[in-house]
């Protein structure tokens, strides 16, 4: 295709991506270098019969004027990145000096909001992904063995957890694990503990979120594996059978190796999707025990009284760096493949 024609075809799509994905990243970077203005204070001296007192008040007018003239805030350099809410260098050095062992050091570090979010995000990503792959493969093998007539309805039901809006899916489960809901009440009976609540302890909240993650994503890996199973060459399976391979051996040595490229694909998709875990934390109201990187950006932007644009932007930049690190191996691999492929 000629360069000029190519340009005209790609232009609308490309400009949408440049305007609303590439430029916002620049905007995020710029915003991360600024912090909100300090309020303009006026010191007035009130002199009364008992001497003079100094009173400090906020000059609302001047503060608003300052905000309007420079909406970004004041320049702060990279200080936002290193403050307590983000990389917290000072606090980490302090914790390293004062703590007597690795575990106390780690517990101090995990009290810092940014590292808490990183810890949960990584734990979620690396716990949910393998379980999704295993459960998906197991369900795919099970469904593949079903009679043809009931495969369709089975696939329909299996798709539901994935297709449903993440926030809605997590709300539905949240209501069920309520101490007065189906799962919550059942667990109380099973463990014979009337005070058992999945919402109370951080550990149980983490596990609940992981379970939600697996429930939500397993259908995706199931569908991919199921489609893969349809293309496993029957000759190889039969050859293995003639050679005396048991059913388990056939799965282990014929089917699973054939599925390997699919595992790579699912892992890649799942790493990308799980790394931005966000809605379940809102749905499960889990922010007290578990926050993710996406969630702390959201709560900064929501803000209480003021929206912390600078802080949200700094976290966003660090998150984007995280995504880049996560994707590097994939990009390198694709680059090699592209160079091998004759065009």
């Amino acid at each position: 295709m000629k360069h000029r024609t190519f340009l005209w075809f790609i232009l609308p799509s490309l400009s949408a991506m440049v305007l609303f994905i590439a430029l916002p990243i620049v905007s995020v970077f710029v915003q991360s270098l600024f912090v909100a203005h300090d309020q303009v204070l006026i010191v007035t001296e009130n002199c009364g019969p008992f001497g003079c007192k100094q009173a400090t008040t906020v000059d609302q007018e001047a503060t608003r004027a300052l905000k309007e003239s420079a909406p970004l805030g004041k320049y702060n350099g990279f200080a936002t990145y290193t403050n307590r809410g983000h990389l917290a260098f000072a606090e980490i050095t302090e914790a390293w000096r004062s703590s007597d062992g690795v575990s106390t050091f780690l517990s101090q570090v995990l009290n810092l909001p940014f590292y808490r979010a990183v810890a949960f995000t990584l734990a979620y990503t690396f716990v949910v992904t393998p379980f999704v792959i295993l459960l998906g493969l197991a369900v795919a093998l099970g469904v593949n063995a079903l009679p043809r007539a009931i495969k369709g309805p089975t696939i329909f039901v299996s798709l539901l957890p994935m297709i449903v809006t993440p926030l809605i899916g997590s709300l539905i489960l949240f209501w069920m694990i309520d101490a007065r809901g189906l799962i919550g009440a059942t667990l109380q009976i099973v463990f014979d503990d009337p005070d058992l609540s999945l919402k109370a302890s951080p550990t149980l909240t983490w596990i609940t979120l992981f379970v939600y993650g697996v429930w939500h994503s397993a259908p995706f890996s199931f569908i991919v594996f199921y489609a893969g199973l349809q293309t496993v060459p029957q000759d190889t399976v039969e050859a293995a059978m003639i050679d005396g391979a048991s059913r388990w051996q056939r799965i282990r040595y014929v089917v699973v190796p054939y599925m390997a490229p699919l595992v790579t694909f699912i892992t890649l998709m799942q790493l990308m999707d799980n790394f931005r875990v966000f809605e379940p934390i809102v749905g499960f109201s889990a922010q007290a025990s578990a926050t993710s990187l996406s969630y702390i950006i959201y709560s900064d932007l929501r803000g209480g009284d003021t929206q912390l644009f600078g802080s949200a932007a700094a976290t966003s930049m660090l998150t984007i760096l995280g995504v880049a690190v996560l994707l590097t191996p994939v990009l390198i691999r694709t680059w090699r493949e592209f160079n091998r492929k004759p065009v």
Binding site: P12, L14, I21, V28, Q31, L159, I163, L182, E279
Partner: protein, 293 residues
């Protein structure tokens, strides 16, 4: 179908069927439970005394005189004006899908037919963009949108969703167009068509299966989005998902949580219908990237 040599032992069949049945229960029961419970009062859906109340509707019978009540739906749709959110979702989703597909087909076609290196780089950039958490982009939009008075309107959100959708749409349609033989449009060009005419008269008539599949996923992305719609829309322009989230702020009032339950069921229904009608396309779309490697 199955040759007799492949017959499985009875134990294995039982085990495998039981496992699938268990999975189906895990996948479906939450939805059935919520659907059933949405017609009860809060005292039954969150029953302190006995979980079977939620099934029998004991309190519902006592409070309303019938085992089923539409109170939750009435509260959500009429009192809390959920219909307005539904309408907004309809507008956002419709335009997002149409615009994404238009831009995506043109771009995807160009990427599939260009052998130059820059096409590869655009695809790689799209892959990186695809991995970007949406909320990080939102934090880039907010301040400029406030400054330029773009914040809160439906068109802004539509354009943002289109852009966020582009990387995925491009990838999917690109791999789809790769499957349409090059000879088709090239022979049209030999016959004197321009590239665009070839696209218009040769490619467009055969591209619909791929476009429909891609459209389904654009639909799901726009419909399920929370990060963008929650942050970029003003109160009166809210779509369904942020509206449901806002119900939760008011759940302390007795009965209001049932508004959220009813709204959740209402918002899930179209998705179920979608899967029912387009199950085959969704399955083929999910596997399109995978099976080809």
């Amino acid at each position: 179908m199955t040759p007799s040599s492949q017959k499985r032992s009875l134990g294995l069949v039982v085990f495998s069927t039981a496992f699938v049945a268990l999975w189906l229960a895990i996948a479906a029961v939450p939805f059935l439970w919520t659907l059933w419970g949405s017609f009860k009062v809060q005292g039954d859906f969150f029953s302190k005394s006995d979980w079977t109340y939620a099934i029998q509707g004991v309190r519902t019978l006592a409070e309303t005189g019938s085992s089923f009540t539409g109170q939750g739906y009435h509260g959500a749709w009429v009192e809390q004006e959920f219909w307005r959110a539904t309408l907004n979702t309809g507008i956002v989703v419709f335009f997002t899908v149409i615009i994404s597909l238009t831009l995506g087909t043109l771009g995807g076609y160009a990427l599939a037919r260009s052998g130059y290196k820059y096409a590869f780089w655009i695809l790689m950039a799209a892959l990186v963009f695809r991995a970007m958490p949406h909320i990080t982009l939102v934090s880039g939009y907010l301040l400029p949108f406030f400054e330029w008075n773009l914040w809160g309107h439906l068109p802004t959100t539509i354009i943002v969703l289109v852009a966020i959708n582009q990387p995925f749409t491009l990838w999917m349609l690109h791999s789809f167009f790769l499957n349409i033989p090059k000879d088709m449009d090239e022979s049209a060009m030999v016959d004197g068509c321009t590239r665009f005419q070839a696209f218009r008269h040769v490619i467009i008539p055969v591209m619909w299966p791929g476009v429909i599949t891609t459209g389904l996923f654009s639909f799901l992305l726009a419909y399920n989005d929370f990060a963008v719609t929650a942050m970029l829309l003003s109160q009166e322009n809210q779509t369904m998902v942020p509206k449901i989230a806002s119900f939760l702020g008011t759940t302390q009032v007795e009965g209001n949580v049932m508004f959220a339950v009813a709204a959740v069921v209402s918002a899930t229904a179209p998705l179920f219908a979608l899967v029912m009608v387009f199950q085959r396309q969704i399955v083929s779309g999910l596997t399109a990237g995978a099976v080809k490697g």
